[in-house]
């Protein structure tokens, strides 16, 4: 044992003498493992709320303006008199569903959980670079979630101008009631959320750059770490732009400036705004908004890569190509935002440029998909629930990604823009795919988080019902979009033209309800396993990465003795030079053994 390691061991002994109170251990913890659990549980709670909202408005879409007691119970007499959902609360539900799922579940819930858990454990660090900042990051996230949820109880209702909050609709309470107090709380919540996200991201970046253990070069990092690292960089580059947009919108709303507003006549009077442009807001919003979908999907890609290699007992195919494609996607993600704005009224020449950059993203995405498929080829697949979700993620990513070729092409976007075709596309490619990535991560690292195993049979039921329902919901949705049905319509009954789509809507809602109810299987499995799951062995999946070399019981500093040293890349599965089918990263090279992957 090196002298340095010995010191650490002593430090560690010393730490144990501190008595941890309930508050420092479970609430204001600065231990990355506890913070990761806090993120996960908060994310799951927000996810339950977000999914529940979607079920409510799906019921309205399938059985428009019919009375359901559950509406009255959940939405109250004001928004669901006699159990019939009102049109403004419909828009509010759509808005808050989108906000919660994109930001609170798939950004904070996903990145927050797995970046926190895995970055120190997989790079061989005792904790994050700044444990305090990490704690502040979580608590800001928590506060922003509370503020967002509290907006549900505002008298005029929560923000209801869509999760993209385009002004003037979001700026003027005269235009929609939700743009009053509800919108103010939305903006405050997002400002706090962005602060949380920035603190977290900076911490991840610094930790990956500075705290890698001996031997852990950048090209020996597991792909999870690569994607978390790149995700954090995208977040730091793009989230401040959303913050600026939100601040300018607050100025327009509260202090009478005209950044986004001009020439408005509403409720019988001319407003004073002059010279601003809503298109400017759209540019600022999508400068975050588009990278945001990669903030959501990249960590899922990293998790899937890791789980696939482990469960295939094979190296991930094209490790370097995977890193290059992540970097390419990250770079391109910042120069494609205009594809959300082909018909926004911006110069059509810009449309041409953004079509070009957008379709370029298909190339690194295709590389990733083919590399995953090749990873399966001639593997020895251990089909655990985590592996099923990973395969499912590749499937939905391909299905959803392919329709992106239509939406990214400005000419074709003209007619499908803002229809259900878009809804189907992005739910498959970033919603379902990222959720699958998150589920894969939970099933795979649950033993690492809680020292216990989740029940695999419940996991199988959960996956298969979810897989069928996800396609059952979003595959038919493409057709109603191609029929020209706009999104965000409270009901389609004003248009007899769309009467023949009603049966499809009923089918979609049926699948959504079944799929939604079966998430209870996951919730049960998750929470029951925390307390009653079978105790896990140290390395249940026979994985090569460092987190499985740490003891099952969580300790401050992660490893009791010296930090592990790294001698090889993270994907030495079924290496022909070894008898066992996995060689952990901390196993020294045999005399004469060479690294095979270069």
């Amino acid at each position: 044992m090196s002298a340095e390691g010995h010191d650490h061991a002593l430090d560690h002994e010393h730490e144990h003498h501190h008595k941890e109170t309930f508050i420092t251990k479970y609430i204001f913890s600065i231990d990355h493992k506890m913070i990761s659990k806090q993120y996960l549980i908060t994310g799951i709670i927000m996810g339950v709320i977000g999914v529940l909202m979607s079920l409510l408005f799906r019921m309205q879409l399938a059985w428009p303006e019919e009375s359901f007691k559950i509406f009255n119970i959940l939405l109250g007499d004001k928004f669901a008199p006699n159990g019939v959902m009102a049109n403004d609360i419909y828009l509010a539900l759509v808005t808050i569903h989108g906000t919660i799922m994109v930001f609170f579940v798939l950004t904070a819930g996903l990145s927050g959980t797995f970046s926190n858990l895995l970055i120190p454990l997989q790079i061989g660090a005792r904790d994050m670079a700044s444990g305090f900042m990490n704690m502040v990051s979580y608590w800001l996230f928590f506060i922003s979630a509370v503020v967002m949820l509290s907006s549900l109880f505002v008298e005029a209702g929560p923000a209801s101008s869509g999760w993209t909050i385009y002004p003037p609709l979001s700026a003027l309470p005269q235009a929609i009631p939700g743009s009053g107090m509800g919108m103010t709380l939305w903006l405050i919540s997002m400002a706090i959320f962005i602060a949380s996200s920035l603190l977290g991201s900076l911490n991840y970046i610094v930790t990956v750059i500075n705290l890698r253990t001996k031997g852990m070069s950048m090209t020996r990092l597991p792909l999870t770490i690569w994607t978390f690292f790149v995700t954090a960089i995208i977040g730091v580059v793009s989230f401040p732009v959303l913050l600026s947009a939100a601040l300018l919108l607050i100025f327009d709303r509260s202090f009478g400036t005209s950044f986004f507003l001009s020439d408005i006549y509403i409720a019988g009077e001319v407003l004073h705004y002059q010279g601003g442009s809503p298109v400017l807001f759209e540019h600022l919003f999508w400068f975050l908004g588009h990278p945001e979908v990669y903030i959501v999907i990249l960590p899922a890609m990293g998790i899937v890569s890791e789980v696939m290699a482990t469960s295939s007992r094979k190296p991930i195919f094209g490790y370097r190509a995977m890193i290059m494609s992540v970097l390419a996607i990250a770079f391109l993600s910042t120069i494609v935002w205009g594809h959300h704005m082909f018909v926004s009224g911006m110069n059509p020449f810009l449309g041409s440029v953004f079509t070009f950059t957008t379709l370029l993203i298909a190339i690194p995405s295709a590389v990733k998909a083919f590399n995953w498929i090749t990873t399966l080829w001639k593997g020895n697949l251990q089909l655990n629930p985590a592996m099923l979700f990973s395969i499912g993620m590749v499937s939905t990513f391909i299905t959803g990604g392919l329709t992106g070729i239509i939406l990214g092409d400005s000419t074709l976007d003209i007619n499908v823009h803002d229809t259900y075709f878009v809804v189907a596309h992005f739910h498959l490619v970033m919603g379902i795919s990222a959720l699958y990535g998150m589920f894969a991560g939970v099933y795979h690292w649950f033993p690492r988080m809680y020292g216990r195993m989740m029940n695999k049979n419940l996991g199988y039921i959960h996956f298969w019902v979810t897989a069928v329902c996800a396609y059952g919901v979003f595959f038919p949705m493409h057709f109603i979009g191609l029929a020209g049905l706009p999104r965000r319509y409270y009901t389609n009954t004003s248009f007899p033209l769309f009467d023949d789509l009603q049966n499809v809507n009923v089918l979609i809602t049926t699948f959504a309800l079944i799929g939604g109810v079966f998430q209870l299987v996951f919730l049960y499995n998750f929470f029951a396993s925390i307390f009653y799951g079978k105790k896990s062995v140290q390395n249940p999946w026979k994985s090569t990465t460092l987190e499985w070399t740490a003891p099952v019981e969580h300790i401050h500093g992660n490893w009791p003795g010296a930090l592990p040293e790294v001698h090889r890349w993270p994907y030495d599965y079924s290496n022909p030079n070894h008898d066992v089918d996995f060689v952990p990263q901390n196993v020294p090279m045999k005399p004469g053994e060479e690294e095979l992957h270069h």
Partner: protein, 386 residues
Amino acid sequence: MTSLLVIIVLVLLAVALWQLTKIFDLTQVGSNRDTSEVATDDDNNVQGYIMFTFLAFLYIFTIYGLFKWGPLVLHTPASEHGEDVDFLMNITWVLIFIVQAITQALLHYFAFKYRGKKDQKALYFADNNKLEALWSVIPAVVLAGLILYGLYAWTNIMFVDEDEDTIVIELYAQQFNWKARYSGEDNVLGKANVRLIEGVNSLGVDMADPYSQDDIVVTELHIPIGKKVHFKMRSQDVLHSAYFPHFRAQMNVVPGMVTEFAFTPVFTTAEYRELPYMIEKVAHINDLRAKKSVELVAKGETALDPYAFDYLLLCNKICGASHYNMQMKVIVDTPEDYKKWINEQALLVTQVKEANATPVPAIDGATKMDSTKGADTAVVVKMAMK
């Protein structure tokens, strides 16, 4: 009652799950720390077969969808450029289906074929530059083709030549309706600004502008077949989006600026109604409506009207609580019918004069149009009323 039922179902579900896990536990014999929750060869076998079944599900569901829901999608474009759009769309769909069929098959077949077995060792296959180059270059080449064709079509659609012979029409959006302003014989729209909105002049047209003297404002859009229509769009309150699905046309309408879109209709409303696909679609819709009507009448409500096809202009950008109900009927006429119709419409300037001429109950009503005789009369009338 329903909530009670829901609660009972949830409780039963929880009990069932608990029992299930118990049963699984009892079948496992092992030490305290075990790996029984890790997939065994049996699990791999079962899950591998389900993977294969799922592939079949995907294929069958896709084919079923194409037959069942394929006829619902927009068909035969009603505009000239719509042909180009649909052509590109169809090429793209063929490509998508090929790639989807191959990749999903490989993914799920491999998951089945290489399902884990105890004595099997995976192939150590970490890299192959040739393969990776192959699947970088093929998508790049295919996409290059799509991009080039797409950009060619996009440029043709979006850039309107100012010298071209078009009919200029303004689309005017407000919560929650559309209006259209025809530029009249001079084919130039008079200036307008929301600050000039007043009474019948609900679009804020500058009545002092010589170009506005022949402008016509209507709430139903008529356009002639075979002539390019150049839409200039304004909104008075929030973002809206002018969406003509049958013409493959869409453009956002933005307060504070004028946005544009142009297309040439190629079927009159009457012709489009007679297309075989449309006859079938309308018959189907009327079937559904008839069935619904029976239900409604049974409940003591009024039956639904039978549906006849009309082109529509929809709002496709969330614009407020009644967004779902913002529409305008669009009628494509023969040139003769169009001429006849437009000649029947009153000029805005006449409407404004008439409105000012009629006694207005509200005393502070609008009468800033001073230089015209009509306005003068209005003032006189008002004074008389006092």
